[in-house]
Symmetry: C2
Subunit: 247 residues, 2 copies
């Protein structure tokens, strides 16, 4: 696959606001570490994408429904209201924890609704409406600004069933494979692999998280050295309902 | 956290047999890429560890039970028998797919039982009996042979609920944190983070998978540039039953 993988954090990107040009910020931050190269994968935290896309809600503007008041045992019912609006279905609820399926088919805590600490305790950040479109748009903008053809992953931290802790996954993907299907390929011993799919875009998001951190305020990273060019989408990683043993 | 992360595949390790000295193989393969350094994390595929530990079963030696015959709709009932023996509980079964909880508390396909292609179609590889002990033993042996104090992760490819494809996770851990608990830490904007745990050892396993591949026969990689030294265990990543919303 590759000789060596490098994961380089993109530092110095300021706190983002609606309408900010994320592509320009990424290209500039990359220049400080030698610039982007073709076949690089740029991983950008969902929160950064959502902020520039204006996917922000102020609690002061939210009127909670009766259901939201009921579910919000100890929390703010307005926050629950926002989560319910983002949810296609509540998968599990053990207050204050709500696991929901989003409009995109992602199953995650709070339907992806997150506090925006930088914008103050009264502000929530929602997932992008279409993370694959966000990834494709950022990819186009980076090419426009820098002439470089990168892949893009929009990442977020998700919990998992049966395992503790979050790992970063790919919500949106552009320019690379999301799933690597090894069916029909031969392994090192010459035997054919059956039904093996690797979620490479999720693994790329996880690798990037290791340098972005949660406390260090680094919203993007470059993953360099992979040969994963392709036409994958974040939606490829969503298990179709009829194949899902856990819904 | 770090400036830059590097993930270096360890090439040239031969097909392993019971009793082989994996520590020596890792140290030698690392010498070809400049040698190991303190604070490196060595990620080793579970299959390599299981083989040197003799966790291999020959189908010819297996007598299937009635239940195994019943569940093995289209497959080999002896394979099902081995899976059932490795399982503490079958979580879901949709033949030929069996999701089971192992003795270690891992929830995964086929209770972690895998075909050993290199050893021929009649051979299965089981998970190590105690992957944390395997990781600690390999860490000690690497220190003994090379004088270098590395962290070790024993990795395997697991499917997930709700998402397609596998990502690599950490079954066994030595010398590093497995979970990073950010509770009480401040984010970039100075707000305290609540109940945030990052499964760093799983993310390290995923990053390593990107260079190890499934078809390239590379059983180990170095992950360099992290500051994750600690006393974590793979067992830290297993969700306790009473906190699990999905069992």
């Amino acid at each position: 696959m590759t000789d060596e993988l490098r994961v380089v954090p993109l530092q110095g990107i300021p706190e983002l606001e609606e309408g900010d040009d994320l592509g320009v910020h990424v290209v500039r931050a990359a220049e400080a570490v030698g610039g982007l190269r073709d076949e690089d994968v740029v991983v950008v935290a969902q929160k950064a994408v959502s902020k520039v896309e204006g996917r922000v809600v102020h609690l002061a503007d939210v009127e909670p429904s009766a259901l939201a008041r009921e579910l919000a045992v100890e929390g703010d019912p307005r926050r629950l209201e926002v989560i319910l609006r983002e949810a296609r279905e509540v998968v599990r609820a053990r207050p204050p924890l709500v696991i929901a399926e989003t409009r995109h088919g992602f199953v995650c805590a709070s339907a992806g609704v997150d506090a925006s600490n930088a914008k103050g305790p009264g502000t929530l950040v929602l997932l992008p409406l279409d993370p694959d479109a966000s990834a494709a748009g950022l990819r186009d903008r980076i090419r426009e600004v820098s002439g470089v053809d990168v892949g893009v992953v929009v990442s977020d931290s998700f919990g998992r069933a049966w395992r503790r802790g979050t790992t970063d996954v790919a919500l949106g993907v552009a320019g690379i494979e999301a799933l690597q299907n090894l069916k029909g390929q031969l392994d090192a011993a010459g035997y054919e692999l059956h039904a093996t799919e690797i979620a490479v875009a999720d693994e790329i998001a996880s690798a990037a998280q290791l340098v972005m951190g949660k406390t260090s305020g680094i919203p993007a990273a470059i993953v360099r050295g992979l040969r994963v060019r392709g036409r994958g989408r974040g939606q490829d990683l969503v298990m179709p309902r009829d194949r899902d043993l856990f819904r």
